[in-house]
Each structure stands twice: as C-alpha cells, then as structure tokens.
C-alpha cells in the first residue's frame, strides 16, 4: 500500500513539474506568436456569463467579495 501511495505521489510530482515548467518559462512573444493567447479559453476575464453567475451566487452567500473589478455587487440578495 505504501509503495502504491509513493508511486502515486511520484507520478503527481512529475506531472505537476511537466505542467509547471513550460507554464513559467519566460519568453519574448512577438505579435505573430499570440494566436494561442487570443483563444477564448485564454481570456483572463473568463466567460462573461460564468463570471456573472459565480459573482452573483458567491456575493449572496459569503462574507467577502470583490477583486476582479470595481463598482459593487448590486443586490441585497437573501
């Protein structure tokens, strides 16, 4: 059992490193190299409907809010 857990741990670390290494490798990106960054999934603002729904729900049910923009929450949600 311990060997299995150790194996899973090692695989997780290797997978994590294989994702993190290319994620943080800095690169000088030319304008013609921004095709990937222009994809919808790469938007730092996220999907507008998803963002609105999440903000609305969590604002209504939790004690803290904000961080993504300015202007308040806009409801007295119960």
């Amino acid at each position: 059992m311990r060997t299995f857990v150790y194996l899973i741990f090692c695989i997780t670390c290797l997978t994590g490193c294989s994702i993190l290494e290319p994620m943080f490798t800095p690169e000088d990106v030319k304008p013609w190299q921004k095709g990937i960054l222009a994809k919808k999934q790469m938007s730092l603002k996220g999907d507008p409907i998803d963002e609105y729904v999440d903000e609305h729900i969590y604002f209504s049910k939790e004690g803290s809010t904000g961080g993504k923009g300015v202007g308040g929450g806009g409801c007295g949600c119960n």
Partner: protein
C-alpha cells in the same frame, strides 16, 4: 498604331479602375466586418437550496465593436426569488419576521429560523471601451439594479496602458455605488431593538468607493497572468433589515429576539491573482486563481479556483472546475447573545448571527459542457454543487445545486 495604343491604354485604365474598385470594396468589406463584430449571449440560471431559496435568473448580454477604437456591451438580468431565508434566530425560535418581500412570517422547516419571501430583481448594465492611443484604453461602466427592498446604482472608470512590446498591461480603476436598503415596506428596524418594540426608521443608505490597481503579463506564448489589488470603503447602512439574533441562555433557551446591528463602515483590501495556460502539444487549457480578502470586520478569506478544459472531437468541450473558499467570522458575529436571565442591560455594540458572517468553508465542484454549433456559436451547460460548512451558526451545513444554460453566437 496610334489607335491601338490608345485602345490598350484605355483597356489598361479600365482594368486598373475595376481592380482598384474591387480592392476598395474588399478593404471596405474587411473594415465593416472588423468594426461590426458582435457577440450575443442569452443565459438561464437555476439555483436551488433544498427547503430554502429557489432562484430563476434570465440573462442577456451583447457586446461588439462600434469602430476600430470603440467597443460597447450591454447586459440585462431578471431574477425571480422564492422560498425562505434564514432569519438568524435559533431553530426553535417563535419569532416571526415580517416585511420580507412578498412574503412575511411564514416559516419553512419549523420555528422562526426562516421566513418566506418572494421577490423579483431587474438589473441593467452598460460599458464603453475606447482606445485613445495605440497603447492606452479606457473603460466606462454603469449599472442599475432594482428589487422590492433594494436599489443599487453604480459605475466605474478604468484606464489600461500596455508597454511598447505589449508584454505588460497596467490597469487603474475607480468605482462607486449608491445603495438604498430597506424591508419591502420601505422601513428599517431599529438596530438591537426587540421585534415587539416595532421601532422602525426610513430607508438605509450605503455608499461604496473602490480603487483598483492591476498588472497583467504575457509570460510566454502559452501563458498569461494577472494580479489586482483593490481597496474598497463603504459607509452607511450595512445591517440586513431582515436579520435577527436570539437572546438565549447557554442551553439555547430563547428569551427574546433582537434585530441585528452591523458597523456603519467597512474597509476592505483584496488581492486577486489568476493564471491561464495552454498545455503544450494539445488544446487543453488550465486556469487557476487565488484571492485573499481582509477587511475592518476581520472577515479574512482565502479563495482558490481552478478549471481544466479539453476538447473532444472538435465540437465538444468539457471543463471540470472547482473552488475552495474559507472565511473567518466577523468580529461582531455571535451565534446568539448569551444571557443568564434575558435582561437586556449589557448588549454588545454590534451583533449579527447571519451565517454569511460566520466561520465558513465552502467547496464547489462542477462541470461545464460546451457544444460548438458553428464556428462562432455554442451552447453551454454548467452544473455545479456547492457545499457550505459553518463553524458555529444557527443553521446547519447546507448544499446548493445550480445549473446554467448559455446560448452564445458571434456575428461578423
């Protein structure tokens, strides 16, 4: 010969004129498509807490380019809310909170722990973005939200500046809102007064001011990241006019209930960061965000969100996502006001038993599925479950299910 040359010249001129005209048409057509790129989203949200609230939300958003330098977006939201909401009283309380929108003293689940209500909300928002110079943009936004017991009007102004190589974008924004708060009868109860006293005032006002500084960075051709720091200050009526708190002994034997009272000022600081990344060798995307929130009420919280999207056979996109949120209770939060004899001669300055201000751990797990109906159109389904666990509250742990359906279409 001279005639032939003239004819050739005329044919050349005619061909040139024709080609030139076609080129001009093509350029005009390209410009028109560039300046008339619009996106329309129509969405529906179903939100349900068993034995409590049910919300149906209808959303419509449209955004597009007015010119090569101007973008606009408009949003319209209509909510209907029905069910019951926790009052803040102990589960066996006999309190009957009245004045709730369209509802009243009705209870669900027994006692005065909840009161029924029925409300609708209409919200409209608009924004205008403009590019002033090659690397400088602004964004102006405004919104109005109206419901039976709450009106909010707000807006913001943001400036974005790119560096010459567009690797960094700096953002500065200010915002504000004016809220009017009351029970549905346009009254607010006297804070920390007994319900039986029936002391009421007029509507409460709350003004909020926000300042945000942000930085986004293109790390490499597959990764972008951002960080925002926000300061927010609100002044005025922060109390929830429907919430009460039980005065009870150590064994939860209730003597009476009082309307809650919160401070009339709140100052927040929020740090928000996010990173998005495309996994090399495929079309999988990863996003991760972290938010730290702290405020003058000591509601300190940590929020981690993550999502991983992948395509299946081009038209199908799946995105599992998750969120973990932990908050520390507000410094005036109390489950009850403990008293040995029920005598109200030593009340705290502020007190609230609203579970939203309690110690809380909230975990969300969900899945988004997107079917691409065309190159610019899609239908999205997003289903998630939220589990909330409270440290010490008059309500037990609860769960929420929500589903969104979104029809999106781009027009060029």
């Amino acid at each position: 010969m001279a005639v032939t040359k003239t004819l050739k010249q005329q044919l050349t001129l005619a061909a040139g004129a024709l080609l030139g005209h076609q080129a001009a048409d093509a350029a005009e057509s390209t410009d028109a498509s560039l300046y008339n790129s619009w996106t329309v989203d129509v969405g529906y949200l179903y939100y349900s807490e068993p034995d409590k609230i049910t919300v149906d939300t209808y959303m419509a958003m449209i955004s597009g380019n007015l010119s090569d330098k101007d973008t606009v977006s408009l949003g319209l939201v209509f909510d209907t809310l029905t069910g019951s909401t926790p009052t803040g009283a102990l589960p066996d309380s006999s309190v009957a909170v009245t004045g709730v929108s369209g509802g009243g003293a009705g209870t669900v689940g027994g006692g005065g722990a909840t009161s029924s209500f029925d409300d609708t909300r209409l919200a409209v928002d608009a924004s205008w973005g403009h590019e002033w110079q090659r690397l400088v943009r602004s964004d102006v936004s405004a919104y109005v939200s109206v419901e039976g017991d709450y009106t909010a009007i707000g807006g913001g102004l943001g400036i974005e500046k790119d560096t010459e190589d567009r690797a960094y974008t700096f953002t500065a924004a200010i915002g504000g809102s004016v809220d009017k708060v009351s029970q549905s009868n346009e009254q607010t109860p006297a804070p920390l007064s007994e319900l039986s006293d029936a002391i009421y005032y007029g509507k409460g006002d709350k003004n909020t001011y926000d300042v945000l500084f942000g930085l986004s960075k293109i790390i490499n051709r597959r990764t972008a990241a951002m960080v925002n720091i926000t300061h927010s200050r609100s002044l005025g009526y922060h109390t929830d006019p429907y919430k009460v708190i039980s005065v009870a002994d150590a064994d939860d034997a209730e003597f009476t209930t009082l309307f809650e009272k919160r401070p009339d000022e709140r100052e927040r600081y929020v740090l928000y960061s996010k990173i998005v990344h495309e996994i090399p060798g495929g079309d999988d995307h990863l996003d991760f965000s972290y938010r730290y929130h702290t405020d003058s009420w000591d509601v300190n919280s940590h929020t981690v969100e993550m999502g991983y999207s992948f395509d299946v056979r081009i038209r199908h996109l799946f995105k599992p996502f998750g969120r973990i949120y932990y908050q520390q209770a507000a410094n005036f939060y109390q489950r009850t006001i403990v008293s040995d004899d029920g005598v109200l001669d030593n009340l705290p300055e502020y007190a609230s038993s609203d579970p939203r201000l309690a110690d809380m751990l909230s975990v969300t797990a969900g899945l988004k599925y997107q079917y691409k109906t065309s190159a610019t159109g899609s239908i999205d389904f997003r289903l998630a479950y939220i589990h909330r666990q409270y440290g010490s509250a008059v309500v037990g742990d609860d769960g929420t299910l929500f589903l969104t359906v979104d029809l999106g279409k781009g027009f060029d």
